[in-house]
């Protein structure tokens, strides 16, 4: 009886646990597969971007070589001088249409200089077999320039040719210099810290030897190839690889390990507690991870985003000015484009500030400005968005004199606060902004800006955490509101750098009230420059 009871008990406890465990493991597994797939897509995308960068650098090299080859000449002394002085090419050659070398003077071997003789020995295969001519012939008849790659000595050698009438002018590229220039155009490890966390990109030659790599990794041995592409022509023998050191999934540890130990009751309890903890941890950390991923993504693309964004914003504003407010519907639509592009600008600025902050690379640039003008400009940007959500603005601005401070920092700090009102506190229908200047006995000044709303406010237990990066008050209200979750953290960081702070002040009746303080220097004694 007793053993059967134990067995039954065991069955009752173990079976659901096993099922839960199996399901859990499967879900985690599936999720990882999906994630894996998505990640490798992202990586390939990154590699393509690198390939494009290499291609651009190669184009630039080509352009400079072409400049060295001009004006076209067959004059021996001029070509010798060029070959002697060129930093990009080893030797120049000129072919006549039928493939015969006009320079170096192969017809009179006695006239060859030692370096010309060496060059001809090096490239004999190309001239004797008519390979270059063949390659020129294969290219489109309209092509004016092209590359010819061949193997000799240390690996891939390259020639760049260009047509001039019946003649073909050729530059034998200094291969190591080209490689050094391509490398110079690629990122360094310290530049990419936030994007490539734990990953490494490697440029490899035809034999799979690493030519250059970047991205810092803890354990080089654990690196595994996660994605690989071949470079585009003419460097198609080379490849790019994305390698990462894989981290074990969080879920699998929890789900897998416990089935082995059979301490039923205790285990069930522990399992439940752990399971819940794991669930919450996973939820929480997934959110954090996703937010961090979003930031990392924006950081990667932000500089590239800026050019199209500039165009969208600038042209929308040009259009807005042209329309001159005559067509109301049109201005409304334009307003949306302008204010949304401004929102995107803000987001990018935040992300970049954040990653610079992480690298201790934040700098302030002091200028003489009227702080109220800065505040008005910020509000002006938000005007369409605020009025669309029915939020009235109440102003009490009192810093009409010039101060020395960083207007971009002030704009960014206050912009983030106003943006939060627009996103989270629209139901209060009011935004109040107040500004003022305190003179301190030291002669330094301190400005303060209050941003206040009548929204739902921040719950007391969350108040301490809202300044942490990626933290978002977890309630129904934040659903459907997108953002990176770093705005407040950045605002505070910037303010502190600026000798001040951002704090959430206690408020009796609903809503929240943020107080920004910044140290500023009096303009009377102009001290342009940055703090040490």
């Amino acid at each position: 009886m007793k053993p059967r009871l134990t067995l039954l008990l065991l069955l009752i406890v173990v079976t659901p646990l096993a099922i839960v465990g199996w399901l859990g493991a499967k879900i985690v597994g599936d999720e990882q597969d999906v994630l894996q797939h998505r990640v490798s897509g992202l990586m390939t995308g990154q590699l393509r971007a690198v390939d494009a960068a290499i291609s651009t650098a190669l184009d630039a090299y080509q352009q400079r070589v072409l400049e060295e080859m001009r004006p076209f000449t067959v004059e021996r002394d001029a070509l010798r001088k060029r070959s002697r002085e060129s930093a990009l090419s080893m030797q120049f050659y000129v072919l006549e249409g039928a493939g015969k070398l006009l320079y170096p003077p192969v017809d009179s071997p006695g006239a060859l200089t030692p370096s010309e003789r060496e060059a001809l020995a090096r490239t004999a295969q190309i001239w004797d077999g008519g390979e270059l001519l063949a390659s020129v012939g294969e290219s489109e008849a309209t092509a004016e320039t092209g590359w010819k790659a061949w193997y000799w000595g240390n690996g891939l050698q390259m020639m760049f040719w260009t047509r001039e009438g019946q003649r073909i002018h050729v530059a034998e590229i200094n291969r190591t210099r080209l490689l050094a220039d391509l490398i110079a155009a690629l990122p360094e490890t310290d530049e990419v810290a936030p994007q490539l966390s734990g990953g490494r990109i490697q440029l490899m030659d035809a034999t799979g030897t690493v030519l250059y790599q970047w991205g810092s990794v803890k354990n080089e041995e654990a690196l595994k190839t996660a994605a690989r592409i071949a470079l585009r022509a003419p460097l198609s023998a080379w490849s790019l690889e994305y390698a990462t050191a894989e981290a074990p999934g969080i879920g699998s540890v929890v789900a897998g390990g416990f089935l082995l130990t059979l301490l039923p009751a205790l285990l069930l309890l522990v399992g439940l507690v752990l399971g819940m903890a794991a669930y919450f941890y996973r939820e929480q950390s997934r959110e954090m991870r996703e937010a961090a991923q979003r930031v990392s993504f924006v950081n990667q693309v932000s500089h590239e985003l800026k050019t199209p964004l500039t165009n969208i914003r600038m042209y929308a504003e040009i259009l807005e000015r042209e329309a001159g407010g005559e067509d109301e519907r049109m201005s409304r639509h334009l307003n949306v484009i302008v204010s949304e592009s401004q929102r995107l600008s803000r987001m990018i600025a935040n992300v970049l500030t954040f990653s610079r902050g992480q690298r201790n690379a934040l700098n302030l640039r002091y200028q003489s400005v009227v702080p109220d003008d800065v505040l008005r400009t910020v509000l002006e940007q938000f005007r369409p968005a605020l009025s669309a959500r029915g939020i009235d603005v109440e102003l009490d601005l009192r810093i009409g004199e010039e101060c020395s401070l960083d207007p971009d920092a002030l704009g960014q700090i206050v912009g983030n606060l106003v943006s939060n009102v627009e996103k989270y506190a629209a139901e209060g229908k009011l935004l109040r902004m107040e500004s003022g200047l305190d003179s301190l006995p030291s002669g330094l000044g301190r400005i303060f800006v209050v941003v206040e709303d009548r929204g739902p406010g921040v719950p007391a237990r969350e108040q301490a955490r809202i300044f942490e990066p990626f933290y978002r008050v977890n309630s129904l209200l934040t659903e459907g509101v997108s953002g990176t979750g770093i705005g407040l953290s950045i605002s505070r960081e910037l303010a502190r750098l600026h000798g001040g702070d951002v704090v959430l002040e206690a408020k009796e009746s609903g809503g929240s009230r943020f107080l920004v303080t910044l140290a500023c220097r009096p303009v009377a004694a102009p001290t342009e420059g940055r703090p040490a």
């Binding site: 002394d77 010798r80 002697r84 002085e85 060129s86 930093a87 990009l88 080893m90 006239a111 200089t113 030692p114 370096s115 000595g153 240390n154 200094n174 291969r175 190591t176 210099r177 490689l179 050094a180 220039d181 490398i183 110079a184 360094e188 490890t189 310290d190 530049e191 490494r200 690493v210 030519l211 250059y212 790599q213 970047w214 991205g215 810092s216 080089e220 040490a532």
Partner: protein, 455 residues
């Protein structure tokens, strides 16, 4: 004043004038650079084809302006795992001390490399020294050695402010074998050539006994830079100091030398330096010229027969350079000629001692290379004999030409001779050998004697 003393004084003045007039075609001097063109044998034996050497010597003069040219320097540091500990600490200290010698308007960049590369300080003026110092102090060693990429990135930083009126140089430190990216001496030499043509000089410092001296010396030679073998980390400071001392005393750069041989004279080869011979012309270039230092081009020429008493011009030289003090392009001209004689003893007694010292030095450097190659092939005995002969050659020349500098070079050959058999000793001797060769070939300063360590 008596008539007699008056006469003597006049005569003296006349002689001085005459001498300076005579010297004029041979010595031409811009404000900051002096050019001397000399034949090793101003007198040649008549009646046959003869060989001699022509030396084109350029000396940086003391600048009276007292203002040195601004520099644009990239410090490229190895921070691979093998550097950890005292080596890294000394390297950082040497770099920081070197920076103290720079002015605020100089430009510096700092690149570190291990498996990957970091541009620690992108090219910047030295207004914020504290930040730069902090960056250097924060360097930690780990990983492999991506030397090629380090040089590439350093060059990129220099290129941002490449300026003919600035001294553009890179200081590369490595203690190990390059193992990420191109790492053969030939490839690095090719890169060095390219950088040299752009006006960037790469000086290399090999630290300890495990670096590849072929790679480091060829990179330096190809870009007209210096090379130092620093066995003990504590001597890094002296090497940095010498290199910065050179850079800071640069008076001219972008020096081009064109030497034309007239009819009846044929250039055969150039000793020690990369130069191109195109028929009757020789082209060579030097990146920098330092104050109080003489650098030269040495050309072996073949001279057609002539009758005694006949004078034959052997070289017409044009030198162009950027004078840093005035930020202007300058040109100097000079020539050399020989006179035929029937007397062998006159030929001997009129030999130009300085040129002969240079020739001996260059020839010994070439022979040392041959001896080193023999040792590399495992022909130990042949190598020992070659080094011994070279040592004796240099010792003899030192006595014959009363040149103590040759005696020092003989010592280096002697050490090589003594250590060919033992692997560890040979490793050290080979590095010394190569270091000495670079300094002979580029006529650059050996590193300063290390300062006494402070207690």
């Amino acid at each position: 004043m008596t008539n007699q003393t008056m006469k003597t004084a006049l005569a003296r003045i006349a002689v001085t004038m005459l001498v300076s007039l005579l010297a004029l075609p041979l010595t031409m001097s811009g404000a900051t650079v002096r050019l001397n063109v000399d034949a090793a044998n101003p007198m040649l034996l008549s009646g046959g084809v003869r060989k001699t050497y022509v030396r084109v010597a350029l000396t940086g003069m003391r600048s009276d302006r007292g203002v040195r040219a601004p520099v644009n320097v990239a410090i490229v540091l190895d921070r691979s795992g093998s550097m950890s500990g005292a080596k890294m600490a000394e390297a950082k200290r040497a770099a920081i001390l070197a920076l103290d010698r720079l002015r605020d308007d100089d430009i510096v960049s700092i690149v570190t490399y291990e498996s990957t590369v970091d541009v620690l300080v992108p090219a910047t003026k030295l207004y914020d020294r504290r930040a730069i110092r902090r960056a250097i102090e924060g360097i930690e060693a780990s990983g492999s050695t991506a030397l090629f990429a380090g040089v590439g990135k350093g060059a990129r930083e220099l290129r941002k402010f490449l300026d003919r009126n600035r001294v553009n140089s890179m200081l590369l430190l490595s203690d190990g074998l390059a193992n990420v990216g191109p790492s053969s001496p030939g490839e690095l030499a090719q890169l060095g050539t390219s950088l040299g043509r752009e006006g960037i000089t790469v000086t290399t410092i090999g630290l300890g006994l495990k670096y590849n001296e072929d790679l480091m010396t060829r990179l330096a030679l190809a870009s007209d830079g210096n090379h130092f073998f620093v066995e003990e980390a504590e001597d890094l400071e002296a090497a940095f100091a010498t290199e910065f001392g050179d850079a800071l005393s640069t008076v001219a750069q972008g020096v081009t030398i064109h030497l034309d041989c007239p009819e009846g004279v044929r250039p055969i080869r150039v000793l020690g330096r990369d130069a191109s011979i195109e028929g009757q012309r020789v082209h060579a270039s030097l990146n920098q010229l330092y104050q109080d230092q003489t650098r030269y081009l040495l050309v072996e020429v073949e001279v057609a027969p002539g009758a005694a008493g006949r004078v034959r011009p052997v070289a017409n030289v044009t030198v162009g350079f950027r004078e840093l003090a005035t930020k202007t392009d300058q040109q100097l001209r000079g020539d050399a000629s020989i006179t035929y004689t029937n007397s062998a003893s006159t030929v001997e007694s009129r030999k130009n001692r300085e040129v002969m010292v240079a020739v001996a030095s260059q020839i010994a450097a070439e022979r040392n290379k041959v001896a080193t190659a023999l040792r590399d092939e495992g022909k130990i005995e042949q190598a020992r004999e070659a080094f011994r002969q070279n040592k004796v050659y240099l010792q003899d020349k030192a006595v014959e030409l009363a040149a103590p500098s040759l005696k020092d070079e003989a010592k280096v050959s002697g050490e090589a001779e003594a250590s060919v058999a033992d692997e560890a000793q040979w490793n050290r001797a080979r590095k010394q050998q190569m270091e000495s060769n670079v300094q002979v070939q580029t006529q650059r300063a050996p590193k300063a004697a290390p300062k006494k360590k402070q207690e």
